[in-house]
């Protein structure tokens, strides 16, 4: 009896891979490519604003990794991101477009509750699910999740969404001392 069970178990183990679908492709170059995409993606600002022309930061990272996209078309990232991408990839941008200057990253979307008709169009446009609302109900922006990408502005039929700059008050930073005029600390 025990022997039968044992044989059954062994058979199950041997046949399992055939029933569990094909094994994942573990081609070495694919793995390397996926890792590169992740590393590029980690340098991008994640606003998901599509100003680069791709459907988000990850698709843009994939395009860069394939060598199909230039590295200097990300306005929220600004020159810092271009520099970091250059370091990572060891190539410089072709300068098809001028290096963008970084925009204020503290802008947040704001819905004028008096005007909102609850059409859900902005909810569907938001790439990070930062707008909360149901059909016919007033919608609201979750400030902690909003990246200020502005993709919700265009679909709104009643123009009740605005980008409010400086809503997330920029954290003040100690300036770097200027060696020429520095006084004692």
């Amino acid at each position: 009896m025990t022997a039968l069970l044992l044989i059954g178990a062994l058979l199950a183990c041997a046949l399992a891979p055939q029933f569990l679908g094909p094994p994942p492709i573990s081609n070495r170059s694919t793995v390397r490519q996926a890792r590169l995409v992740s590393r590029i993606d980690s340098l991008l600002p994640q606003t998901q604003c599509r100003q680069c022309g791709y459907a988000g930061c990850r698709p843009y990272a994939e395009a860069i990794a394939r060598g199909q996209a230039d590295m200097d078309i990300c306005p929220p990232g600004g020159p810092d991101t271009v520099r970091q991408l250059e370091q990572l990839l060891g190539r410089s941008p072709t300068h098809s477009a001028p290096i963008p200057t970084s925009t204020t990253d503290t802008a947040l979307a704001h819905i004028d509750e008096a005007l909102c008709i609850g059409c859900v169009k902005c909810v569907r446009a938001c790439p990070v699910d930062a707008i909360l609302g149901a059909a016919g109900q007033m919608h609201s922006v979750i400030p902690a999740a909003c990246t200020g990408c502005g993709l919700c502005l265009e679909p709104c039929p009643v123009d009740c969404i605005t980008l409010v700059c400086g809503t997330g008050r920029p954290q003040w930073q100690w300036p770097r001392p200027d060696p020429a005029t520095a006084l004692t600390a």
Binding site: Q46, P127, A145, P157, D159, W174, P179, A182, T184
Partner: protein, 504 residues
């Protein structure tokens, strides 16, 4: 019983200039014309206003509620009317504004009803913590960390030694010295209360060896339950980690807290505030402030929180002079004030007037190593400086930048007059901002990914869902609203743009 004291590495013997102000009775600063109370006078989240403009408030009334665990309440420092809740200049090195509640005093200075916790020995330590938070007590030594958070950590972890810090190591400052001389009973009773709350095995009150009057005042009151210790006057012996080292010989681990080695440190003014809060229910609405430096009558003042710095200077006979600079805090760690029209807050311990020094240009680092000798945390100041200057923030962090207590010893001894601490502060705030940005990006990335996964799953399950949604979005109801909005927009565009639209 006498305690064997230890030494901390580095440090400086500084002239203290205490005799200017420590011998004279403190003055009551008169009621100002306007009280400006910043919602954030402590480390953590700013308080949430619970009054509105035109409300009448009484002295000691809670006007801002603690908005989280690491946050404390704020209270009206006198009776009057709330005239504004908005942005006003606050003590800040860049002179920025922050949310404040402005009160116009009615001159009556009438207290609201306050309630005491009757017998502190019988109350639950948790209740004591609530009292401390609701009375707005923060560390009154200078850092402004909410006192109840520290005490809560003390209740949850075993506290071996409670140290009440009366070591004012920065030159000129004597506000704690004066407080001890005038309110020694409060300090001692407050020490017993905190000691009871955290069930500390040992209770120590530490003063500096050049504070004989304060020592004598305390020596009359302490019993067997409290040790009174005089620590040698060496800057920065009053820093939390240095004081722990002097008294216990233990070192707080890098990146750790005092409580991790069983020690709780509170300032003497905090202890006195705890006493007042418990026995009378009195919140923190005033503090001792030393006015020193090149003023005609240097003195300690008892100032209502929210009083402008300029008023305190006027009491001491100071005439505004553009050649002088005003420093809030001590000469080593204080910050340069751009305007004296900023309020005294819970953390303002000293106003120092200095004649503007000759602009001293920074020279090249000659690697003399003096900075490393005096560093009380045994860091490598010149290495940190080079890293910060070159923008190698990650390297600076690996050289333990965040263990720097910004005491200023390295800048003080630097023969090239390099403002080292400014470089460290810049590097610290740059790293912190970068971390915040990265956290925000990670958050957005995960939300973007989650949304894409959901959409993919939806289309696999219900391929025609999109069509239904589009139909709903183009329903008559939406069309009517769009029409209304279009006419409104046309009407708006037709009128000449006199007043700017609020949302453009």
């Amino acid at each position: 019983m006498t305690r064997a004291l230890h030494a901390f590495p580095g440090g400086l013997p500084l002239d203290h200039y205490m005799e200017w102000t420590c011998g004279e009775e403190s003055l009551l600063q008169p009621l100002p014309e306007r009280i400006v109370l910043p919602l954030q006078q402590h480390i953590g989240l700013p308080a949430t206003p619970i009054v509105s403009v035109r409300d009448k408030v009484l002295k000691g009334q809670r006007i801002g509620a603690a908005s989280g665990y690491v946050s404390v309440s704020i209270h009206a420092s006198t009776s009057g009317t709330v005239t504004d809740i908005g942005d006003h200049p606050v003590p800040h090195p860049a002179g920025i504004t922050a949310r404040c509640i402005v009160i116009e005093p009615d001159g009556e200075d009438r207290w609201c009803e306050i309630k005491a916790v009757d017998e502190y020995m019988s109350v639950d330590p948790r209740r004591l913590q609530e009292v401390i938070r609701d009375c707005g007590i923060t560390g009154l030594g200078g850092a402004g960390f909410p006192a109840h958070v520290k005490i809560n950590e003390g209740v949850e972890n075993a506290v071996d030694t409670l140290i009440i810090n009366g070591v004012e190591c920065e030159p000129f400052i004597t506000c704690d010295d004066r407080l001890i001389q005038e309110k020694a009973a409060y300090v001692v009773a407050g020490t017993r209360m905190i000691g009871h709350a955290v069930q500390a095995k040992h209770r120590v009150i530490a003063v500096e060896s050049d504070m004989p009057a304060a020592y004598a005042a305390l020596a009359r009151l302490v019993g067997d339950d409290i040790e009174l210790v005089q620590v040698p006057a060496r800057y920065p012996a009053g820093g939390e980690k240095q004081l722990i080292q002097v008294i216990t010989g233990k070192e707080v681990p890098s990146g750790g807290l005092a409580i991790h080695i069983g020690i709780l440190v509170q300032n003497v003014a905090t202890a006195a505030a705890v006493y007042r809060a418990v026995t009378r229910g009195e919140p923190v609405i005033s503090r001792y402030v030393t006015v020193a430096g090149t003023v005609p009558r240097p003195r300690n003042l008892q100032v209502l929180l929210g009083t402008p710095v300029a008023d305190c200077l006027r009491t001491c006979g100071h005439e505004p002079d553009p050649r002088q600079r005003i420093i809030l805090g001590g000469p080593m760690m204080g910050q340069h004030l751009r305007s004296t029209n900023v309020p005294i807050t819970k953390t303002s311990n000293c106003i120092l007037v200095q004649s503007e020094p000759e602009p001293a240009p920074e020279l090249a680092c000659i690697r003399c190593g003096n900075c490393a000798t005096v560093c009380p945390v045994q860091l490598l100041p010149q290495q940190l400086y080079l890293d910060a200057r070159a923008g190698n923030y990650e390297a600076a962090r690996q050289h333990h930048l965040f263990d720097c207590i910004e005491c200023g010893c390295c800048s003080y001894v630097c023969p090239s007059r390099i403002p080292l601490v400014q470089y460290y502060r810049h590097a610290k705030s740059h790293i912190a901002a970068e971390e915040r940005r990265r956290d925000g990006a990670d958050h957005a990335r995960s939300r973007f990914q989650a949304r894409n996964d959901r959409l993919r799953a939806n289309t696999e399950e219900k391929p025609d869902a999109d069509a239904i949604n589009t139909a709903a979005a183009n329903s008559e109801y939406v069309q009517a609203a769009v029409e209304r909005s279009r006419t409104r927009r046309q009407a708006r565009d037709a009128t000449p743009p006199e007043a700017p639209e609020p949302h453009d």
